[in-house]
Amino acid sequence: MVRAYRGAFADALQYLVLAVWALVVLFPLYWLVTTSFKPPLAVSQGPRFIPWVDFRPTLEAWRDLLVGPQSSAVRRALGNSAAVSLWSTVVVLVLGAAAAYGLARFSVRVGPARNADVLTWMVSQRMMPPIVAALGLFVLLRKVGLLDTRLGLVIVYAAFNLPLAVWLLHGFFQQVPVYLEEAAMVDGATRLQALVRVVLPLTVPGFVANFLFVFMLTWNEFLFPLILTFDRAQTLPILIAMQHSQRGVEWWSLSAMSIITLLPTVVITVLLNRFLVLRLLMGAGK
């Protein structure tokens, strides 16, 4: 009897901890959303928490951003972010899948280095703090005239997200059984045909998941665009960062801008969770 009570108590306690953490996660986001609907007075009169009770929600900030004077800057930053993220992710996946497939299915040799070494070399690039390469890149891109351009950003993003993509895709390809391709080739297909007709259909979910994941990573980049762009190729994170020094701190406006920036990442998280990727990571063997 006491045992059962203890069990229930322990369970309740664990739920409580989860609930507390959920609150901790949600509250800042709640604050961000409500602030974007606050009129300026509601901000400067001290913290207001509940809409319609503490303050009168208004669409002023959103209107300002989407159709008002700031909208051209927002649209440009949004366009830059979207285009750069899209293209760099495409490059990452194409090059990364090729490299991953090559390392998973072929024997690669560069002098004494074998497959495992090449893979380790690629993955170890992640250990390098971006600032180290960024300073060199600043000088080099300046020489080539790619500073403050979308193309420059695409190339840089692609190079720095490649290691992770190769690692993920390599593990992925290794899980696709070789005998499927072997069977296809015995039946007369060339290696390329085997790849396209047999392997690719199986890997589509994985590719989509990787695409979303890398897209999200490039969307969130800050240091590189900070160093390598000035105003033409400005991305959303930079727009947010620059705002706070120019117009004073207009919280409602910056909150709305932040929400615009965060929306794709939240959507991608939900989508990825639907895909097996996250479930596998969290062990949904239940």
Binding site: Q14, V17, L18, W21, V24, V25, L26, F27, P28, W31, L32, T35, S44, G46, P47, L95, A98, A99, G102, L103, R105, F106, S107, Q125, M127, M128, P129, I131, V132, A134, L135, G136, L137, F138, V139, L140, V156, A158, A159, F160, V166, E182, M185, M216, N220, F222, I227, L236, P237, I240, A241, H244, S258, L262, T265, V266, T269, N273, L278, M282
Partner: protein, 326 residues
């Protein structure tokens, strides 16, 4: 006598037409573990490798070269290689050592806090086989995915002394508000708090995966032997989780050393230089003051630090592996 004819007719019209017997099946030599020898693999890997070399390795080497040079931006860019002046300056620069201290403190505090909280959450998530836990999962993962600048700005608002939510809540329950971003030590704590909020999900994911991979028989045996609850965790679960724990800590430490987005927007490195880590200092030096050579030196200093930490943790893992016989 009759077999020959039967055999011939059995092969059908094909042999009658004079064509050869069907070709033998193509021998597909995929090599050991399914790997084919030959240049195919190299060609596939080449573009990726070239991109990495050109855009990642080469600029890195260039930065290293910059650290050993003197750069002048007056009248165009001129670089003068072959001096250790920057390094002498680095060793005597108190702001550099402050940045090292800040980086180190941030990494250690953030990683350990995330580990502790992450472990608690992972244990709970692993333990509760009840419904509703699925909803928690998506929620827990969201902070990890959010744009760091937006997270930084969000917390900057929350930490504001007069208008911020945190002080608002504190005052609501009767406590005085705290100078989150204007006091040196509190500012560092604020950054740690933000990093913990941001990255604990990562720890939860890794530790949960590790927990779910623990051999059930060993855990059962331990439970039968009476090792449950607190002591069970420390004597059985925790030691078995050491490789995963170290891997997670290693990954997190590497990332925490690079932290810059949130610091930039919450404190800008201040007050003074209380929250200025190496990345931020290198950025300010290299691209605000345009002292590229010294900025490069600072960046390399960070890289050296990261590599030291990585090798220490790897050594630790190796040593533990020998002792534990994994």
């Amino acid at each position: 006598m009759r077999t020959g004819r039967v055999a011939r007719t059995a092969t059908g019209p094909g042999s009658e037409a004079g064509s050869a017997t069907p070709a033998p099946p193509r021998v597909v030599r995929l090599g050991l573990r399914g790997r084919a020898p030959g240049a195919g693999g190299g060609t596939l890997v080449l573009p990726a490798a070239l991109l990495l070399l050109a855009v990642s390795i080469f600029p890195f080497l260039f930065t290293v070269a910059l650290a050993f040079s003197r750069v002048s931006l007056i009248g165009g860019l001129s670089i003068d290689f072959g001096t250790v002046y920057n390094w002498a300056r680095l060793l005597n620069d108190p702001r550099h050592w402050n940045a090292v201290r800040v980086t180190f403190t941030l990494v250690v505090c953030a990683a350990l806090l995330q580990y502790a909280i992450g472990m608690v959450l992972a244990l709970i998530l692993n333990n509760l086989r009840l419904r509703g836990v699925h909803a928690f999962r998506v929620l827990f993962i969201v902070p990890m995915a959010l744009t760091p600048i937006a997270i930084g700005y969000m917390w900057r608002m929350m930490f504001h002394e007069t208008y911020g939510a945190i002080n608002g809540l504190l005052r609501f329950i009767g406590l005085p508000g705290l100078p989150w971003t204007s006091d040196g030590r509190l500012a560092l704590a604020s950054i740690v708090i933000v990093d913990v909020w941001h990255w604990t999900p990562f720890m939860v994911l890794m530790l949960l995966a590790g927990l779910q991979n623990l051999p059930a028989e060993v855990l059962e045996a331990a439970r039968v032997d009476g090792a449950t609850g607190w002591s069970g965790f420390w004597k059985v679960t925790f030691p078995m989780m050491l490789p995963t724990s170290l891997a997670a800590l290693l990954l997190r430490a590497i990332e925490a050393a690079k932290l810059v987005d949130e610091i930039y927007i919450i404190t800008g490195g201040g007050p003074g230089v209380a929250t200025e880590n190496l990345t931020l200092y290198a950025y300010y030096t290299g691209l605000r003051s345009f002292d590229l050579a010294y900025g490069a030196t600072l960046a390399i200093s960070l890289l050296v630090g990261v590599m030291v930490v990585v090798s220490v943790l790897l050594q630790l893992t190796r040593r533990l592996r020998e002792v534990q016989l994994w």
